[in-house]
């Protein structure tokens, strides 16, 4: 019974939002807005749940385990940033933390991707299959064409780059996008028809 009620709630909420987005009825639009706002509030609560989860799991690790130091650093950083965020919103202190802690670490992690991408390229570029050959040739050609100097030295290469992007690449990605849209719609319809009930943990 409980499961049927939960599923009905999801289906009704989903259909109302769907109709509110598609039909030009102001009443349905208001209902949809309200439900969207509700989802927003719930997502924020989920973040709260996430915080509790982080704190709990790392508090356990901070008491015992091989990564005590890291977990302690995480908890202290989290609590400090949270305190600054809650008590001094949009303050200079928050901006300082963002500029000199948040942003450099994230940018450096992003920079590491260059190294690991090169290692991945080493594996992927081994010419063992036709696919790998296509990948290698396509990557190298596109990389070469995207160097601004090539267009400056040989202006025709700029046109080749535009053609590559506009025809073969666009064709591949458009076909992919059409498939993704179809799959997304089918997945959403399964949820709206309660064939799938991911919210109860079941299929």
């Amino acid at each position: 019974m409980r499961r049927i009620m939960v599923a009905a709630f999801a289906v009704i909420a989903g259909l109302l939002v769907c109709l509110g987005l598609l039909l030009p009825s102001p009443w349905l639009g208001r209902v949809a807005d309200l439900l969207l706002e509700g989802a927003l509030i719930l997502a924020a609560f989920a973040l709260l749940l996430g915080l509790l989860n982080v704190l709990r799991s790392h508090a356990q690790k901070a008491v015992k385990g091989p990564r005590r130091g890291q977990s302690i650093v995480l908890i202290v950083a989290l609590l400090l940033t949270l305190a600054i965020g809650l008590l001094f919103p949009q303050s200079a202190a928050q901006a300082w933390v963002f500029d000199y802690v948040y942003s450099p670490i994230q940018a450096s992690l992003g920079a590491l991707l260059a190294f690991v991408a090169l290692q991945a390229a080493f594996r992927a570029f081994r010419l063992r299959t036709v696919d790998a050959a296509i990948l290698l040739v396509s990557s190298l050609i596109m990389l070469f064409l995207q160097i601004p100097a090539t267009a400056a030295l040989w202006p025709r290469l700029g046109a080749v780059r535009d053609w590559m992007l506009a025809v073969p690449v666009a064709a591949g990605i458009r076909g992919l996008l059409l498939g993704i849209a179809l799959g997304t719609m089918a997945t959403a319809l399964r949820v709206l028809f309660a064939v799938d009930r991911p919210y109860t943990g079941e299929e």
């Binding site: 590491l112 179809l182 799959g183 997945t187 943990g201």
Partner: protein, 255 residues
């Protein structure tokens, strides 16, 4: 840019509504038929075939499986990839729960966390665990995917899992995991073109595009066969419509 003639410009809402209604009717029809137990031959997808083997192997070797669930937000259009991630999590959770080595997972979308916890708890219950863990083996790693990669990397260093499932909204951060732990089998998949391309390069077993979203029919949800057939039907209809439209446009009948 090639100056193509976009014939369907302007307001797409009515056409979208018609397409949704058609697909909805098809999904409903074929799902009801799939309930009867009919199965179709499906294009083989290695990832899903391998996943069944993975569960056997994990049971045998008593090794755990790690899941990097990514950042798909269930309350947005990430719902589809979230659903795909949960499907895999449930399949693996259900098949290896009895080994006593729980599936561990990390996510960087807070709303996906409770969904994954519920999914895993149910999966364990259906594998016969009377007191399933309440989801403490799934951790939230902040809202940033790169942070999630760090957390996943540490968990994989500690647990030495057999495999790492990265299906859903997982992007470039997957590269960090595949290169830092090459000994782990990385199952990767993303329904985003840019992310999918990276995963195709990085993962051991990769699934991209629409295939990510059709895992259920391949794994343990015969009901999904219905929506798969509906997708295929609409696909053929769209392809025929495109060809007819192109011919009409080329001979000057339309556009």
């Amino acid at each position: 840019m090639t100056p193509l003639v976009p014939l369907l410009s302007g307001n797409t809402e009515p056409i979208a509504l018609i397409v949704i209604l058609i697909l909805g009717a098809l999904v409903a029809l074929f799902t009801l038929r799939a309930r009867g137990g009919g199965r179709m031959a499906l294009r083989p997808l290695r990832v899903y075939q391998r996943l069944s083997e993975l569960c056997s192997q994990a049971t045998e070797s008593a090794a755990t499986v790690f899941a990097t669930l990514g950042s798909s937000a269930p309350e947005g259009s990430g719902m589809a990839s979230a659903q795909a991630a949960l499907m895999l999590l449930r399949f693996v959770g259900r098949n290896i729960a009895h080994t006593g080595r729980p599936v561990r997972a990390t996510t960087c979308d807070a709303a996906l966390l409770p969904a994954a916890q519920g999914t895993l708890t149910q999966a364990e219950r259906s594998d016969g665990l009377r007191h399933p863990r309440t989801g403490s083996q799934i951790s939230f790693a902040g809202p940033e995917p790169l942070g999630m990669a760090v957390e996943a990397e540490c968990a994989m260093a500690d647990d030495a899992p057999l495999a790492n499932l990265m299906v859903g909204d997982v992007g470039a951060e997957a590269l960090l995991l595949t290169e830092m732990h090459p000994g782990v089998i990385h199952y990767a998949g993303s329904d985003d073109p840019a992310d999918g391309a990276l995963l195709q390069i990085a993962g051991d077993e990769t699934v991209i595009g629409e295939d990510v979203l059709s895992g259920g029919a391949y794994l343990d949800r015969p009901m999904h066969m219905g929506s798969l057939v509906a997708q295929d039907t609409l696909r053929v209809v769209l392809m025929v419509a495109i060809l007819v439209g192109v011919v009409a446009a080329s001979i000057g009948l339309w556009g």
